[in-house]
């Protein structure tokens, strides 16, 4: 079990008292909770659907024709829904040799630049993802016969949510290069196989 590992200090700013900030914080924790729950549901559903199909095929000779397709689309949604929550805990592996070697001020400037680059990439991905959705709405999926736009929507949705989550931790990231602590994963172990 790695759940009892020492976490990293939370990087979010110290509690503020202004009512607007507290409302924003509550909305933010709601967004994160829903986002995380959707990821859990997607993975759980993927496993159940694929397993049910295998079990059924062996036990009854029947099979669920849509299982493979739905499982693949759930995995696509899982990946894009995960961009933001994974970023929050520092789970996107990066080479931090340069920022660590720089003096504090220069490192802050570099991390600010990096954060701007990432948000810029997210915006581009939303833009081109939106174009992809518009193009794929008329197409339908082979088995389930729904609009492929429901699948391709994962790209702009995921990157839009990612911007929300990035903004939630960007202050701590730029200031000290730290992220939120989480019982789910430790930064440094994600992205590893």
């Amino acid at each position: 079990m790695t759940h009892d590992l020492p976490g990293h200090p939370p990087a979010s700013a110290e509690p503020r008292t202004s009512p607007r900030a507290s409302v924003l914080r509550r909305v933010d924790s709601g967004v994160l909770a829903v986002n995380r729950a959707l990821m859990i549901l997607a993975l759980g559903a993927m496993a159940v659907i694929v397993f049910a199909n295998v079990a059924l095929r062996y036990l009854t000779d029947e099979s669920i024709v849509w299982s493979e397709e739905v499982a693949r689309y759930l995995m696509i949604w899982l990946v894009f829904l995960g961009i933001g929550p994974v970023f929050r805990v520092g789970g996107h592996i990066a080479i931090d040799t340069l920022p660590e070697a720089l003096p504090a001020g220069a490192a802050r400037a570099l991390r600010l630049f990096v954060a701007a680059l990432i948000i810029g990439f997210c915006l581009a991905a939303i833009w081109y993802g939106r174009a992809l959705v518009l193009r794929t709405i008329p197409q339908t999926t082979p088995v389930t016969d729904v609009s492929f736009g429901l699948v391709s929507a994962a790209v702009p949705t995921g990157f839009a949510l990612a911007i929300w989550h990035i903004l939630a931790v960007v202050q701590g990231f730029v200031a000290t290069g730290t992220f939120e602590s989480s019982a789910d994963i430790n930064p440094g172990e994600a992205g590893s196989v």
Partner: protein, 428 residues
Amino acid sequence: MTTAILFGSLVLFMALGVPVAFAIGMATLSAIVAHGLPPIALAQKALTGVDSFSLLAMPFFLLAAELMTGGALAQVLLRFAAMFVGHKRGGLGYTNVLALTFFSGISGSALADAAGPGAILIRMMRQSGYPVGYAAALTATTAVVGPVIPPSIIMIIYALQDPNVSVLGLFWAGVVPGLLISGSLLVYNFWASRRRNFRSEGARPGGREMLVTSLKAIPALILPVIIVGGIHSGAFTPTEASVIAVFYALVVGKFVYGTLTFRMLPAILARSAFLTAAILLIVTLSSAFAWVLTVVQVPQTLSLWIGSLGLDPLTFLLAVNVLLLLFGIFIEPLPGVVVLVPILAPMAATLGIDPLHFAIVVIINLTLGMITPPVGSLLFVTALVAKIRMSELNRELYPMLALQILVLALITLIPGISTALPALLGSR
């Protein structure tokens, strides 16, 4: 020119500290714009890059390993391993290597090995008076067999990058090299235990106790047979085998060992979902990267060029090894495989190198990058679970790493170590 932009910007972004996934995406977008390709292709390739049934095996094997750890299968395997070697001098060291090797037959990742049974063993070795640095270094180095012995997440991803190999062929090809790595570490532990006078753990258990421990271990030991045997016989695909592993781990953990509760499931699922998303974002964005490579014909050009040099295959393999070891200091196996294999595998094939042999060399080499100081995810995780400083770990690590580079050289020089078993069993 486009190639220069693609690789130049990738290196630049990564050096600045942009996360690898985003750096791959940004480099791809830059090259797409520079080459005048439609940028919508980035979104499209990023979507279709994970639209693969065989890739589903990746999250499932990850989830199965997490369930195994939560369900105490790791402890059962550990007790089983201890029964044979615990009473010998340096017994917990041998137990460490054996237990992680058994666990590798269930898990597909080095990290799962280090964070699961590895964490428990480090704690036991510390209590028994071993230097913690030694325990952690041995765990980190042995964890390298996780992705080499089947099942293996990196092999599932590798098979998507090189059409000349199958997941099953890779699985079989990894068995002997994986056992060779474990064997070399058993020998190292033998030598270190004599030299440093490590202790043993009491007497060999009695026959009755050994029988009970073995019976208890059967459900855990049988799973690798179900996975690899099931795929080999054609009974199910790797993806189906992986999902069977998930439910097998669930049932065994819940009803046989009784250590897994349903209340633990959301946390286990969340952890697997986070790891999956982090890994597959890199995979899917790099499929856009690989698409640009093909459009500008980089693999084709390089294959022609390498073919025209009249190079000896062995020279090429050695050059690749040096390149990847240097690369591995900074780069994880996953980006290494998804960015470099589409280029290197066709070159190797042009020179007549067996694709399975090449794959095993690349996978072991890049996995060693996870334990190459100063940074490496395996070092990070083992130092974290052992609660020691990285420098304390690294001191003990160097001789073990050197030994693994020797093993890698052996596997590079003798293709049969990788290719004999798949050839014998008739799988590519």
